[in-house]
Amino acid sequence: MVSVRGLHKWFGPLHVLKDIDLTVAAGEVVVVVGPSGSGKSTLCRCLNRLETAGQGSIEVDGEPLPAEGRALARLRADVGMVFQSFNLFGHRTVLDNVTLGPTRVRRVPRPEARQQAMALLERVGIADKADHFPAQLSGGQQQRAAIARALAMRPKVLLFDEPTSALDPEMVNEVLDVMVSLAAEGMTMIVVTHEMGFARRAADRVVFMDDGRIVESGAPDDFFAAPRTERARDFLSKILQH
Amino acid sequence: MSILKMSHTRRRSLGLTATAVAVALAAAGCGGDGGNTPPALPGNPGLGGDGVVAQSVYDAAPVATDADIPAGSTMDAIRKRGHLIVGGSLDAPLLSQQNPVSGTIEGFDADMAKLLAKYIIGKPEVKTTTIGTQTREAMLQAKSVDAVFQTYTITPQRATQVAFAGPYLTSGLAVGVRKDDTSIKSVKDLAGKTVIVGANTPAVTALPSAAPGSKQVAFGTDPQAVQALLQNRGEAYVQDFTLLASNAKANPGMKVVGEPFTTEAYGIGLNREDAQFKEFVNNWLKKIQADGTWAKVWEGTLGSVVEGGAPTPPVIGSADGS
């Protein structure tokens, strides 16, 4: 579904992604972990071209990423993204946030789009907040609304860029539960996160990044039980201590 | 020559900006004939004199005796102050226009003001405050200026607000048209037509009765109005006869048709409460009319564009409101 070959990315003199190769099959759930500044968020953002690749190729569903323009907009419609800071549209109700994409991009008639949106809000558990504005919701509710917004486009792949990092601890689980159920239904997902519990429960594969490179990659049980590299061991010991 | 100091009001300096732009346009060849003729800069017309009153006229001009100036009078205050404060214009060709080279203000109104200053003080010391037609009455009532020399038409309505000495000049409105126009021969032919006028000039109030149904388009300065006529923004330009004559001399594209159709009696605007000063100024006017100074000033200014000699000066007190 997603195929990355020899990807490099520079921010000025800073070499943030170094020769990344990554293939994600349809229905696969890949969790990307690693210390801050390891380049995992940048990799995620490159996949729908919110960041442009410096070098290398990215293919989604067999098609190379188009340059700026309508073709890129079409591709992004197929690649959903959930942000760390939710980024719900502040001037629109939760329902209007969810229907905007389908009505404007997919040309779904408004009544149909509303019906589908309500079903999605029902599914993430905030149907009663449909007519509220984002600022009236808790962080967990906002993130679930953002997931509904991404799902409304019926994406082929969903990207999660640290979806729980901005949440109060008591709200983390309500979001993770939604993500786990999505994974169980066969959604192709690439998740950048620090939630090792989620990686254990839902991931097919864990990718460990450090200093712009993919250092290690494997099934979650193997990775957490017996990391092969020194850096992965070091990273795990730091975050699993408490 | 005296050094004239000017104080500009904000609105007036905006007007000057517009004039400067219009002059720049003319200088860029927009309205000119492109030949060797200088561009249309009114105030530098090409007939007879050079538009400047000779120094000898000033030297010979009368000065009031001490007996004419009682202690405590307005004249006394002006003499003690050392200069006359005049409300006027800087952009009226032949009447009151600042010479861009020398900086002095030239024209019939400006020279009359300087001669009045000489009569009171002994020297032609004038401080000119540029004022708009909107502010003349208020400036006189507040005594911000001693006198207004600004082709100020004497009317009964205005005479309820200010006093008029004079009339010191009579003129009339005439009709200017494009050179190739043969359909308009007098003001009567303007009925129902679009007519260009100068904003805040007597033409604004005179046209509705002289040319019924005519539509007015007003422009802020004389060069703009001429440009507008040449650019077909109206069928005719109605303005003071002498000003039109000066424009026609400088612009081959326009001509004056017919005789003046109104009589405008211009007065010197004064504070309404000060009957003593009005009588003093009227006496001065009679003196300079009688000794030929008035005629020399006319010839040096307006006479440079109008053929024939100086007319008979108007009779003091002859206008309704003077």
């Binding site: 729908n48 919110l50 700026e68 309508r70 907009a73 591709l75 992004r76 419609a77 197929d78 959903g80 993204m81 942000f83 800071s85 980024n87 719900l88 549209f89 502040g90 905007l100 994409g101 404007r104 991009v105 504005f133 600022a135 009236q136 953002a146 991404a150 | 905006l14 900006t17 517009a18 732009v21 219009a22 346009l25 927009c30 309205g31 037609t133 909107q134 003349r136 009455e137 208020a138 009317t155 309505q157 309820t160 607000q161 200010v162 260009i196 904003a199 805040n200 007597p202 109030t205 007015q216 388009v217 007003a218 422009f219 802020g220 703009q224 440009q227 507008a228 650019q231 077909n232 923004r233």
Partner: protein
């Protein structure tokens, strides 16, 4: 007071012209302001340069000079509009530059995350602007936009310099007959003040109605 009441229809016509000029010009300036602000944040460098050049040129010339140039210089190259139209075009173009800057300031208050989220669901640049960025950006600067509209109202009086008989010119014409500047211009001033108050009220109403819940 007689000076005013005797010329009510003349002053009324001037007032109507002022209102017409203000409304037409405000609509034109808003559309232009949005277009120019969009150019200034466009992803293409050439478009950004055009937007910047527009703002710099128009903000750095006096409105009166623009009016006089437009009315007197364009006919020499064969382009001539009626005077009201000329004044409306020039004032809209001029105020459009100021509105563009206000709108751009509004756009800058919208977080970059909003634009990313809009793009991430497949909206094009134009759709992102229309449905996400501008609705939030404009709400943030309703008050400054209202102030520019009041300045625009006052600037319509400069149209008198190019032959449009609006309120100021009508007051001038009445004063020419009546010679009562204080009464006449106090009346005209009150009319301008009333119009400015109306704009202020509408601005306040819009700001309350359209406030984003935060």
């Amino acid at each position: 007071m007689d000076a005013l009441t005797a010329h009510l229809s003349q002053l009324g016509h001037g007032l109507v012209t002022t209102v017409e000029l203000t409304v037409v010009t405000t609509v034109g300036a808003m559309l232009l302001g949005i277009v120019v602000a969009t150019l200034r944040i466009a992803p293409v460098a050439l478009l950004r340069a055009i937007g910047t050049a527009y703002v710099e040129v128009l903000q750095n010339l006096p409105l009166l000079a623009l009016l006089v140039l437009f009315v007197f210089a364009l006919p020499t190259i064969g382009i001539s509009f009626p005077l009201f139209t000329s004044a409306a075009i020039v004032i809209a173009a001029y105020e459009g530059a100021y509105l563009a800057e206000a709108i751009r300031a509004g756009i800058n208050t919208v977080g970059v995350g909003q634009a990313e989220a809009a793009r991430a669901i497949g909206l094009t640049f134009g759709q992102s602007l229309r449905h996400v960025i501008l609705p939030q950006g404009l709400r943030a600067v309703i008050q400054p936009i209202g102030n520019i509209c009041i300045a625009l109202l006052m600037n319509t009086s400069l149209a008198a310099a190019v032959g449009v008989v609006e309120l100021t010119q009508a007051a001038n014409n009445v004063n020419l007959v009546e010679a009562q500047p204080i009464a006449v211009f106090t009346g005209a001033g009150l009319a301008y003040m009333l119009l400015a108050l109306i704009i202020g009220q509408v601005t306040g109403l819009l700001e309350r109605r359209l406030a984003i819940v935060r």
